[in-house]
Amino acid sequence: MKGERENLNIVVVGHVDHGKSTLIGRLLYDTDSLPAGAIEKVKKISAEKGKSFEYAYLLDAFEEEQKQGITIDITMIQFFTKKRDYVIIDAPGHKEFLKNMISGAASAEAAFLLIDAKEGIQEQSKRHGYILSLLGIKKVYVLVNKMDLVDYSEERFNEIQEQFNEFLNNLNVYPEKYIPISAFNGQNITSKPSEMPWYKGDYVLECMDKIEKAKGIEEKPLRFPIQDVYKFDDRRIISGRIESGSLKAGDEIVIYPSGKTTRVKSIEAWQNKDKVDVISAGMSVGITVEDEFFNKRGEVICHKDDHVATANIFNANVFWMGKNNLERGKKYKLKIATQEVECEVFSINKIIDAASLKTNTELNYIKKNDVAEVTIKTKTPICFDAFGNIQAMGRFVIIDNYDTAGGGIISNVDDVINRQVTNIKSKNITIRKRLVSRKDREEVLGQKGKVVWFTGLPGCGKNEIAVKLEKKLFDIGKKVYYIDSANVRFGLSSDLAFSPKDSYEQTRRISEVANLFADSGTITIVTSVSRFREAREYARNVIGKENYAEVLVEASNEICKKRNPNAFSEDCDSVMDYEKSEYPVIALNINDAEFNSDKKAEAIIDLLDL
């Protein structure tokens, strides 16, 4: 069936007047892909304007484009070879229309970058090269055009190749191939070049057909951003497009950022003929789930083992196309997958002039056409992945006024502070790059860093169990550390007493310290009365739900008093009140002041699979 044919999008970029539209016109002409009347129409228009036949007019449909002889906006042309279907995207080369070039290039899988052999490498050649790398387009072909103007000189071709490689390799861009062509004369486009016998490589059309499509997005971890939730009838349908991975009825799923877990009940379709068992990347689908808690647009459905990062502060590369500068500290709207959130540029770490690759030191705003490394802070946490891993979850746009004014790529999630960051008093800080990640440390240690948080009233037995737990884990070779909150009061918290305000602050400090230990890959045991629900929720948020295990040690007031009479001499009336958590925790019941703490410690090792 014809429908199984492959489809590939190629963008054509380069400096203004280096021959992009001419190349495409030539490709269409030589492969007999033009509709009847097109040639006559262009002949007529060319004659009306007193020009010789212009292949570029085949594409530059707008009257204004033809008047000025430049492409203003992108044009998408469909075209096919024996092998597959193509969409060729003609992107404007004029600096003024950079935003249109980026629009065109953003949907491409491969790129032709044209350089005029006579004029050589120009500003936009460099800027486009850089932007292609930012957009994650790895299959870049450099076409050295207008070879007829340099007498088809191999020397000139090699010279350009050398110069441009030097520039691109600095950006970690390695073009697939350099191809010498003359689009106007049809040299090396759809056949071997008669004028360049020295060239032994493939001609343009051969190269196109040899481009291999990126595969395997279905095999990546599941990312299903919720687009909308419908209730047209008795079904509550969660709809959206699967961006990576696949899903089937019965699968256990986790919905981020909330972390709620449920199962897929059914996969829905309008007509029975469209009902399928497995849905995968690229499909626009609808599902129902077993537990119908409130879901909304922007949440991301994942499988349990390999999920998205969630944070409200992260590093990104942005390119700015707005009329107004992108200002540090100003509020903008950020859109990533189906999420929309208020954001600000928290710090600008480096601004790069995309043509000279010089670094700018003015770090308070980003001008139109600039590319910058920034730290972005969002009002609420968002879900994302590294762009190199799952593109759709690692790229975002920034809206200024009413328009998309910037695009961004999240290149790395290893350095992400996986939590909601609030109340930062320091102004000039940024997330700095590290060379060793938590994952690296955990791999070397052969364990996952986590926090076992013992909570319960004074005297309930937390410390006794924790001490045993630390010893048992240590003896089986785990890297483990016990943070005793009572001990912390001798040092880090020597300024705190037992008032509710101080109790909150004590819990905050312990959670932060425990989080650092867990980040180092250590199994971290904490004992803390932490009687306030909100304080423990804070800890759970800082440490991250998947790394935090709460163990409530419960004992009657008599037992507590018997075990630790000193604790109750503190001058605090509500000392025996305890607010239970709303989420499930591990509860250990202590019925006897002389309980067996070894057994309790072993039970925890079993339950948490430590």
């Binding site: 033009l34 509709p35 009847a36 129409k41 687009q227 419908y230 709809s239 497009r241 196309m321 998309t404």
Partner: protein, 266 residues
């Protein structure tokens, strides 16, 4: 996923984005093959519950079979259909003899503008395709129009990674183009695969068929023997004639449709 699956998934994604973002949303239904496919996609996107009204701008010059087909489909699928005609212009004697572009502007563009103003639509879903004609090949998926429906194609904002334009000044509206990436042959292959009803005028009778539908005085059938969907697909594989070659208004001058569209034509 094959080629048609990918087109279908993308169009459904676009329709759902439109529905999510625009409270007052309508879909133009010209009764032609493209917008009928679009209607089908909307039924799929919303699980058989197309949640917005369809709008038909009736110039009164349409080929009668189109109107019969329109009313039958509207009844069969229980559609919420708004029909609007620019009666004022007609009473003042508007017709193709006044000049084709003038007539298109009055009966189609202005006729549409009346509906947009009356219902205060924020979003209009339109079934144009990039491969139809040059100015349509420059369209964005979400494309802004000002209060007078004018299109500023010299300064379109970038459209990156399916992040469409959903923020705009009050009074302006957004044209949504879910079929932009479809080709004529894709439409027919999809009609075949999904068994979508289309008006009989597309099928050849006595050696002629309509390839593109419009008003009777300005639309000519082409020479063809393709009397069913399979034969149309076969014909399209072998033709070099453009799809709109039977549409007289396009031939008025080299940039006719670009000029019409700048002022709000679909």
């Amino acid at each position: 996923m094959d080629h048609l699956d990918r087109l279908e998934a993308e169009s459904i994604y676009i329709l759902r984005e439109a529905y999510k973002h625009f409270g007052k949303l309508g879909m133009l239904w010209s009764v032609g093959k493209d917008s009928t496919v679009m209607l089908w996609l909307a039924e799929k996107a919303f699980f058989g519950n197309c949640p917005f009204p369809l709008i038909h701008v009736d110039t009164t010059f349409k080929i009668p079979e189109m109107i019969q087909f329109r009313d039958k489909v509207a009844k069969d699928y229980n559609l919420n259909l708004i029909v609007n005609t620019n009666w004022k212009a007609l009473e003042e004697g508007m017709g193709p003899e006044k000049g084709r572009l003038v007539c298109c502007k009055a009966l189609k563009t202005d006729g549409l503008q009346e509906v947009v103003s009356k219902y205060e639509f924020e979003g209009l879903i339109v079934g144009v395709r990039r491969d139809e004609e040059g100015s349509r090949s420059k369209e964005r998926v979400f494309s802004e129009r000002n209060a007078e429906s004018e299109w500023d194609y010299t300064d379109q904002p970038p459209e990156l990674w399916d992040q469409f334009k959903t923020d705009f000044k009050k009074g302006n509206h957004i044209r949504i183009h879910p079929l932009l990436g479809w080709r004529e042959i894709d439409i027919w292959e999809y009609v075949k695969r999904e068994n979508i009803p289309v008006v009989d005028l597309y099928f050849a009778k006595n050696g002629k068929r309509y390839r593109s539908l419009g008003c009777a005085p300005c639309t000519n059938p082409i020479d063809s023997t393709a009397s069913n969907v399979d034969e149309i697909i076969e014909e399209l594989k072998n033709t070099k004639e453009t799809e709109r070659s039977g549409r007289a208004q396009d031939q008025e001058d080299a940039h006719a449709l670009e000029k019409l569209r700048k002022y709000g034509y679909m």
